[in-house]
């Protein structure tokens, strides 16, 4: 993952916290194991001392482990909270009059993502968003559970039928970011990909207009064909 949004910066930091904590545990346990095996291996004739425990030592170890777990827990909450903070639209972004985030609906369906933009335009596979703008992606599903996953821009979240899940993010630079759906959804699951194209606000509005005109033209053509009897 290469972070390209405020939330993914926090996620990245928390990943490091987790990695360090995990590494401390793994190294401590395995070094102690290897030490014990190398040092006390073999039959030296004398029977070992039958030591069966020390209450004070145990208390200290338990306290150390508790503090360790508590520190990791607090860090987990701190960085998760930061990752959740709504990233306000910046100066370079698409400024709305109400200050509301740009709401886009992402519908998971076997095995394609459909994006519904606020003013009636829609697109499949490719999501186009303006740069430096707070985007509120409403995740819904029409069939099974899907998992929207573009790791460079935001955390992954499930689209569950009958529920609405939210991904809020702000892309910090223009570019194209891809992701694979991350919950098994049937045969076409591995091919269920998506691309987020981050563009300037002007390009975004032009895209929406273009998309709307294209859709209307296509619909008119279909209606015309039906009226002419070309489509039964």
């Amino acid at each position: 993952m290469a972070p390209h949004s405020p939330a993914t910066d926090q996620i990245d930091t928390l990943l490091w916290v987790g990695f360090v904590a995990a590494a401390i545990l793994v190294v401590a346990i395995n070094v102690a194991l290897i030490y014990a095996i190398r040092r006390y291996r073999g039959e030296r004739g004398a029977a070992p001392r039958q030591v069966s425990g020390g209450r004070r030592l145990q208390f200290r170890v338990a306290a150390a482990l508790t503090v360790f777990a508590a520190v990791v827990f607090v860090l987990g909450i701190v960085f998760t909270d930061r990752a959740q903070e709504a990233p306000a639209t910046g100066p370079a972004g698409l400024v709305s009059e109400t200050g509301e985030p740009l709401e886009i609906e992402a519908t998971g369906q076997q095995w394609l993502w459909r994006y519904n933009y606020p003013n009636g335009a829609f697109s499949y596979y490719q999501l186009v968003v303006p740069v430096d703008t707070m985007v509120d992606l409403k995740l819904v599903s029409t069939d099974v559970i899907h998992n929207w996953n573009v790791p460079d821009l935001a955390g992954k979240h499930e689209a569950v039928p009958g529920k609405v899940n939210h991904v809020v993010f702000r892309a910090e630079e223009e570019g194209s970011f891809t992701g694979d759906a991350a919950t098994l959804s049937g045969q076409g699951y591995a091919a269920m990909r998506t691309e987020v194209k981050v563009v300037s606000p002007e390009e975004y509005e032009a895209f929406i207009e273009q998309q709307k005109t294209d859709i209307e033209t296509a619909q008119e053509r279909v209606v015309g064909m039906i009226e002419n009897g070309e489509v039964p």
Binding site: M1, Q10, I11, D12, L14, L15, V17, G18, F19, A22, A23, L25, V26, I29, L33, A36, I37, Y40, R41, E43, R44, A47, P48, Q50, V51, S52, G53, Q58, A62, L65, T66, F68, V72, L75, G76, I77, A83, Q84, D143, V144, I145, N147, A154, G155, K156, H157, E158, V160, G162, N165, G179, D180, A182, T183, L184, G186, Q187, Y189, A190, A191
Partner: protein, 559 residues
């Protein structure tokens, strides 16, 4: 050692029927346990074949070796087989065989329950694999609703999966009732709870846990069957149902089962570490309490698997808290195991090797799970191959390495013969290298490149080709190592070196019985005066021999 003791007048009653009929109709806990252990090792082999087929498909990008449908079928069967027909029955089978011997019981309290349990388990295995006759499930290792619903998978495969897994689970619940009752009521005189052998204690905690989580899965499977076959709406969105309900119920079971496997493994490992260090378990009461804590906290952490689902941030923090709290009991168990070794006289025989390997792999797996449970971090690495690797480190460590440690340790008790030491060592090192070469690259593919879980293919430009190729090669190494131990077990059953009744100098009462034990287990039972009854017996014999005035034969000079 002689085969039978001199005071024994009757060696056994003549067998009336062929051996397999005796075995299938026996309510003896040892026969029931043997069916479970043998069957589990067989299903380990089958799970390996399924794993290798999937790894072959994932060896190169956009491979066409398996179709997506075939891959999803392998995935569903692998998940069901590895958990319900290998890991759980191996743990429960070993406990069902050994725990009654350890507590000095002449049988179990409710043997017919165990017999019905194992019969249900065998039937369940037949049902899930009968799915091959029509179409196996394609819903994945945990068949999430609504994908597992009739609308999306209309073949009977999901029904076969749910029925097979349900029968096996019901079997485990029945056996657990017997285990809990037996250890509760039939401990030898003087064996207070604090003196209960640590493996028998682990078996009790694990069985209680199964009594809690087993019915939850059975309820969920019943709802799934009603949804699929009788127009139910338990997991349908709208009309009062909820797809997330399946996730909650199934993850309660799977998280609990995960802990159950680790608890049984730690029980066996603790017996082995004490026996091969020549010391008592360090801080025994703390280890016992920690096992209980693993069961409670681990099961309460079920939502750790749902951190990307719409469940509300408070619940996610709760799951994170429970997962991180596991550090304390887990750390205490490992600390006390290592403290037991320190100052001991370690004999690195095969059981001890596997036990140490198990501790090491479980530590890697649980540390990786720690990272997976940090909420925001989970949004990045959940549902990637990093999650797969974390689970496999912990469960291959617990069920395969821990299970093999227990198998090597109690094999002499079950068969009267020791497993071949040379092949065991070869097997151990091959498996250890295999596990690392398989799951480290898999973890890195998920961690660095975000390769998603359960996918039947990946693309060449995703940057994960090398990781996947190495993982496939490693999987073959792991499989080779596991097959070596299975071959070793088959060979040693009749051809292994004779072990005698107490080959390791263990502290617990199962080593007082014959190898293999008589149907009634014990001719005589000692009063238990400490948590190391066999050591007390050996000391008493040694003291008496030392103090007795034995006639000394004068040595005659040879002319």
């Amino acid at each position: 050692m002689s085969d039978s003791r001199p005071e024994l007048v009757v060696d056994g009653f003549p067998k009336r029927r062929p051996r397999w009929i005796e075995l299938a109709t026996s309510a003896d806990h040892k026969d029931t346990g043997r069916i479970l252990i043998t069957g589990a090792l067989g299903f380990l082999f089958i799970a390996l074949v399924e794993l290798l087929l999937m790894r072959l498909q994932l060896a190169i990008p956009e491979n066409k070796f398996l179709t997506p449908v075939a891959f999803n079928r392998m995935l569903s069967l692998y998940g069901g087989t590895a958990i319900f027909f290998f890991a759980l029955p191996l743990a429960i089978g070993l406990a069902y065989y050994v725990a009654p011997l350890q507590i000095g019981a002449r049988g179990t309290a409710l043997p017919r329950l165990g017999q019905i349990g194992v019969a249900l388990w065998v039937l369940g295995a037949a049902v899930i694999y009968a799915g091959f006759m029509f179409t196996p499930s394609e819903a994945g290792a945990n068949p999430l609703s609504p994908l597992s619903g009739l609308a999306f998978l209309s073949s009977n495969g999901v029904d076969a999966w749910a029925t097979g897994v349900g029968m096996a689970t019901l079997g485990f619940v029945l056996i657990s009732i017997d285990l809990v009752t037996t250890v509760r009521n039939m401990r030898a005189p003087g064996m207070a709870w604090r003196r209960t052998p640590i493996f028998a204690w682990g078996a009790t905690v694990g069985s209680w846990l199964m009594l809690v989580i087993g019915p939850v899965l059975l309820a969920a499977l019943t709802m799934l069957m009603i949804d699929r076959n009788y127009d139910g709406i338990f997991f349908a969105d709208g009309s009062g149902g909820a797809p997330l309900l399946w996730q909650h119920l199934s993850w309660i079971f799977f998280s609990g089962a995960y802990m159950l496997i680790l608890i049984f493994a730690f029980g066996a490992i603790a017996e082995i570490v004490t026996a091969f260090s020549g010391k008592p378990l360090f801080n025994r009461s703390v280890v016992m309490a920690s096992m209980g804590a693993l069961a409670v906290l681990g099961t309460l952490a079920w939502m750790q698997n749902m951190l990307t689902a719409p469940i509300g941030i408070g619940w996610m923090y709760f799951a994170m808290l429970m997962s991180l709290a596991l550090i304390v009991p887990f750390g205490l168990i490992v600390f006390n195991l290592i403290a037991t070794m320190i100052g001991g006289v370690l004999q690195m025989r095969a059981p001890m090797l596997f036990a140490v390997g198990a501790i090491s792999l479980i530590s890697i797996g649980l540390a990786a799970e720690l990272q997976q449970s940090l909420v925001a971090a989970a949004w990045d690495i959940k549902n990637t191959t990093d999650s797969t690797a974390a689970t496999h480190f912990a469960l291959v460590g617990g069920a395969v390495f821990g299970g093999f440690a227990a198998l090597h340790y109690w094999f002499p008790k079950m068969t009267g013969r020791t497993m071949g030491e040379v092949l065991a060592r070869f097997s151990f090192w091959t498996m250890l290298v295999g596990v690392l070469v398989t799951f480290v690259p898999m973890a890195l593919a998920g961690y660095n490149e975000g390769q998603v879980i359960d996918a039947y293919k990946f693309y060449a430009n995703a940057g994960v080709s090398a990781y996947n190729l190495i993982a496939t090669i490693g999987a073959f190494g792991l499989a080779a190592g596991i097959v070596m131990t299975i071959v070793n077990a088959i060979q040693s059953r009749v051809g292994g070196p004779e072990a005698g009744h107490d080959p390791w100098g263990g502290d617990t009462l199962e080593w007082l019985t014959l190898s293999p034990p008589d149907p009634h287990n014990f001719d005589v039972l000692p009063d238990v005066r400490s948590e190391r009854p066999m050591r007390d017996i050996r000391d008493a014999i040694a003291n008496r021999t030392a103090s007795a005035e034995l006639p000394v034969r004068e040595s005659q000079p040879v002319v």
